[in-house]
Each structure stands twice: as C-alpha cells, then as structure tokens.
Amino acid sequence: MNTQLKSLLLLGIVMLAAAVGPNLFPAAMAGHGSLAEMATRFLLPSVAVLVVAAALGYLWRRAIARLVVLGGLAGIIATLPLEVVRLTGFHLEYMPGNLPRLMGVLLLDRFALGPSVASDIAGWAYHFWNGACFAILYVVIFGTARRWVGVLYGFAIGIGFMVSPVVTSLGVGKFGLQFSIGFPITVTLAHLAYGAALGILAARFAGRQPSPLLQNFRGLFTARTGGATKAHVETQGASQASNN
C-alpha cells in the first residue's frame, strides 16, 4: 500500500472516530436511543480508537499523529472561551438550561434525579471532549495554515447546533428564537470564540500546516496519474513529511 493511501486510511479512521462524540447528543435528542447507552456502545470505543490511532500514528505517520494530538489539545483549550460566553448567557437567562449538566444527567441516565457531582463531571468531560473532536476534524480537513478558517468553522458549528435535534427537543423553536433573542446571540458568539481560539491555538501548537487530507489526496491522485516531474517531487516531499 503506498504512502498516501496509508496516510488517508489513518486520517479516515481518525475522522470517523472524532465524528462520533459530537453526533451522539443530537442522535439521542432525536430519539434514536439513550445517551447513556450510546456512550457505552459508541463514545467510549471511539475514544479508544482515537487513542490507538494516535499511538500507532506516532510509529508510522508521526506528523499526522502530532497534528491530531496537538489539534485535540487546542480544541479542549478553545472550549474555555466558549464556556465564558455560554455561562454569561446562561446567567443572563438567554439560555434555557445549562447544557453540560443536561448532557451529564443523560449520560448517567439520571434525568429524573437531576445532576450529581458524577454527572456534572461526565457532562463537562463530554462537552470538552466534543471540543477536542471538532478540533481534530478541523486540523485534519483544513490544516492550521489559515487561522481565520477557525472562525468560520466555529460559526458553522454554532449554526449546526441551532438547527439540530438538540435545540428542537428543548422546545425553544428554530434558533431558540421562541425562548429569547439572546439564545442565538449567545450560541453564535460562543462558537465564534471557540473557532477563533481554535484557529490561533492550532497554528501556535502545530505550526502553520496545510490540510493533511487534501495533501494526501493530491499526492495519491498525482502518483496514480503519473503526473509531471514537479508533481512527483511534491509527492515525494509529502510522503517524506508523512513519514517524519
């Protein structure tokens, strides 16, 4: 198997595993199962897959593994400014509830009992894990070269959240407008803060790097079409970078 294919396989596994966490909450709120059950069946295995993929990546594709780990770390830290905005909005009564606490009671299947210390820990851990997952997807798809892309990415996540089954099940109408104009403002600002922080931190930690996904697709395509000498040299450079 050639270098680009191996890299793409690793990137594909990383992306699939990273996509699991953020999708479970909307799936649960859409009625496709309990979040507690999904966490056991899908979330924990996806965490394990990501850890194993990163570990194996350090052996075979160090640049990719490094990018994934540093990207995830940037995502966790970038969730902090999101929280500052979100909690401010919550205390100003622009938000109908405290989402990490809701996620926590659902994860531990104790909605009717309300939050506990354990469920709060679980909810916040899941919330920050989602921050890491979105960041991993960001660095894999977009790279870290253009920090402003993080802002757009954060904005897109915010919009996606507001049209997701999560907001529908809260009964606050599309974009939360039936609850308060403060809802879409808070959510948008919070995710813009996340995206901006992610763009800056990912570039700071991993250096300005192009998209590994795009890079390897290009390299694969060029190699397969037997491209020109220049393209061949670029492919060699990309495969060397992947091996480092």
Partner: protein, 152 residues
Amino acid sequence: MRVKATFLAIMILAAFVAFATPASAQQDRVVVESKHSFEQTIKNLKSAVGQGGMMVMAEVDQGNMLKMTGLDLKATTFLVGNPTVGKMLFQRNHGVGLYVPLRVFVTEVNGKTSISYEKASTQLSKFNDSEINKTAAMLDEKLEGLARMAGM
C-alpha cells in the same frame, strides 16, 4: 306529592352523576390505538417526543418490573416534559409537581398496542391559574400530536 317530586329529582341527579363521571373521566383519559408493534410504537414515541420539543425524562418499565412477580406483559410509562415549561409551571405553583412531568403509557393487550395519557388541562385545572391553564392547553395539543405520531 312534593316529597315524591323532590325524591325523584334527587334520584335523577344521582343517576346523572353516577353515569356522567365515568364518561367525563373517559374523556380526560385519552387512548390512541397504535398501528405498530409495542417496540415500534415506543421507538416512534421517543422520536416524536424529541421532534415535539420535549424530552423523555424517565422511563418506568412496568412490564419488566412485574416479571419479578411472574406477570408477563408489555407496559411502559414515559415521563415526558420540557424543562423550560416545567420551570414556568413550578414558578406559578409548586403543586404542579404531582402532575409534571406528564405521563404517557404504552401497553400491548391481545396483540394490540395503545398509547394513553391523561389530559394536562384536566390535571392542572385544579390550580385555578390562567397561565397554568394556558400552558396545559398547549401541552394537551403536544400530547395529542405525540400520540398520533407514535401510533400512525
């Protein structure tokens, strides 16, 4: 004669109350026949709850619980509600806690699955609060929609 007429009036009134109460209680309790199996109806209900701006807050699997007594049946109660609506109701009167979250019951009898619930407007009218009544009417509509979607 006058005593007889009074007695007759009392008897008629008593008969009316005796027969009217079960009838009105029947109206307050809504039963919807489902076209689907028990398991599919539950799946549909959970999906409908989310789409309807509510959440399943708890599930009481009476069928599974009663297996411990040797009784074999399919019956589950769902506590459904919306925290934002619940907050408003509790702010008006804490007593609503006896009725909120709302109960939706799914059971299978002789191979037929049904969804039943008691109207929120009936349960919450006891508080004589216009805001609670308005919300209860909205909840009635939501429950009707849920039950219809789950059973269709």
